[in-house]
């Protein structure tokens, strides 16, 4: 296992970027950190800046104003970075596909490593996604 992968998967620093979301995925992401699920005991913490991040969580479809910012945030991220699209909106556009203000699904703007559909995905699904993601990074 390379040094980078080992360092990346030991304690995931997560940056959460809400696009034009309805808040629901965002509150469920916060919910994963609160006592019932408590992902922080595995060293998974939310960080305040993209420059500290190992994982970029995207929620919501991105409209023409936030898509520009998304690309900029992705360019500023230290590489390698794992990008996870949380929720159906980030995966496909969901019910907002076809809106005059939302052109493309997020995967057309930046490369996505994992899709986590659901409206919103349950906290259990998010934890399961993290476990699978770490497994995949380690090449298992």
């Amino acid at each position: 296992m390379s040094f980078t992968v080992n360092a990346l998967t030991r304690s995931l620093n997560v940056f959460h970027l809400s696009g034009s979301a309805c808040n629901n995925c965002d509150i469920e992401i916060l919910d994963v950190l609160t006592p019932r699920y408590d992902a922080e005991r595995f060293g998974i913490v939310l960080v305040g800046s993209i420059r500290h991040a190992d994982v970029l969580l995207l929620s919501g479809a991105f409209n023409r104003k936030s898509a520009v910012r998304l690309k900029r945030v992705y360019e500023e991220a230290p590489k390698p970075i794992v990008v996870v699209a949380v929720g159906s909106c980030a995966c496909t556009g969901n019910i907002f596909a076809g809106s005059y203000n939302i052109f493309e699904p997020v995967c057309n703007y930046i490369p996505i490593d994992a899709f986590l559909p659901g409206c919103p995905p349950k906290p259990e699904a998010m934890i399961s996604a993290i476990v699978k993601l770490i497994g995949k990074l380690k090449g298992k």
Partner: protein, 408 residues
Amino acid sequence: MPKKTIVPIGPYHPLQEEPEFFKLHVEGEKVVDLDIEIGYNHRGIEKLSESKSFEQSVFLVERVCGICSTSHPIACVQAIEDAGDVEVPERALYIRSIIGEFERIHSHMLWLGLAGHFLGFNTVWMWVWRYRENVLDVMEHITGNRNHYAMMKPGGVRRDIFSDDIPGIKKILDGLKKALALFRDAVIDDPVIHARTKGVGVLTRQQIIDYGAVGPTARASGVTIDVRKDHPHAAYGFVDWKVITAENGDVFDKTVVRILEMFESIAIIEQCLDKLKTVPGPVDSNPKEIKPGDGIGHYEAPRGEVFHYIRSDGTNRPVRHKVRAPSFMNVATDRVAVLGQSIADATIILAAVDPCYCCTERMMAIDTDKGKPALHSPDLLRLSQEKTARLQRELGTEGPKLDFGVFS
């Protein structure tokens, strides 16, 4: 004269769940002005709704906001029912109120936790959200999803609440009452919360009336405004409860109003659950068509009054769907609340109205050549005045003469 500095908060700030951009103009520690830039969250829901059938529109407006995800559907179905003269069975009204009040409890607990987080008091955040899980469990049991309940439909609700489930729900409510009593006492007695919130971000009664603020923001300043009491809908006219108000209008009073409102919500749910035992019947009148006409629906969301307007031309789609969310009115009060306060208090003041930008953002105007916003607030004001004048001419009426000088 001290130098003026701009402190940017956002658009992607660790304290914010949603993208929004505040420009704090400060002199030293003191905030002297505030600019709010939004538009990151506009999804064109009103226009999308015109391409969906009435039943699909309800699912669409549910996704206006994930936190008040049953307030918008209730207002929307009420507008559709108003437009098409649809009868709603009594049992469905009770179920609507139960779901609405559970949502209010979960939303207020969410705000209380986040307020603790904004104050740097993360214990409150973790603690409150732990008990909030119980509410979400009830919602998952009744509706099948933790958020986005998909319960409302024109003419009733989609699922019944079974009488076998009622004792279990009541047990969870009893547990919740104990937890809420704990928070009430903790917040009212805690010296740290007192020091951070008392006398901070004060909104006077007159400012609330001037800005037309709604919901707990208005009630904390002594304005008794609650759509549930003023225009009883769903089952709010059949049960006994009272509107909670406070006098000072600071962040502390907004917190207290929200905590005490949760007790009222529990009282409403308990009464509605008791009524469900005796009120029989279908929960859905299953309307086959919506007659031409227009209708309005309002509902007291956790943040204030949600308003929906729907016009039907007799087909299965709305020809016009207008949404007005409570944060649209409440966010405007941010500027007067934050003036003269210190930077450290700005985050909690901005958060005290429980802003919801995904609810608020209803329009966007873009100059396609330059890719920049083409309309600014004076333009919007002018358009709105022109439209009002045009309508007055067409209808041959004289409306009240309003002075917009303060905004322009």
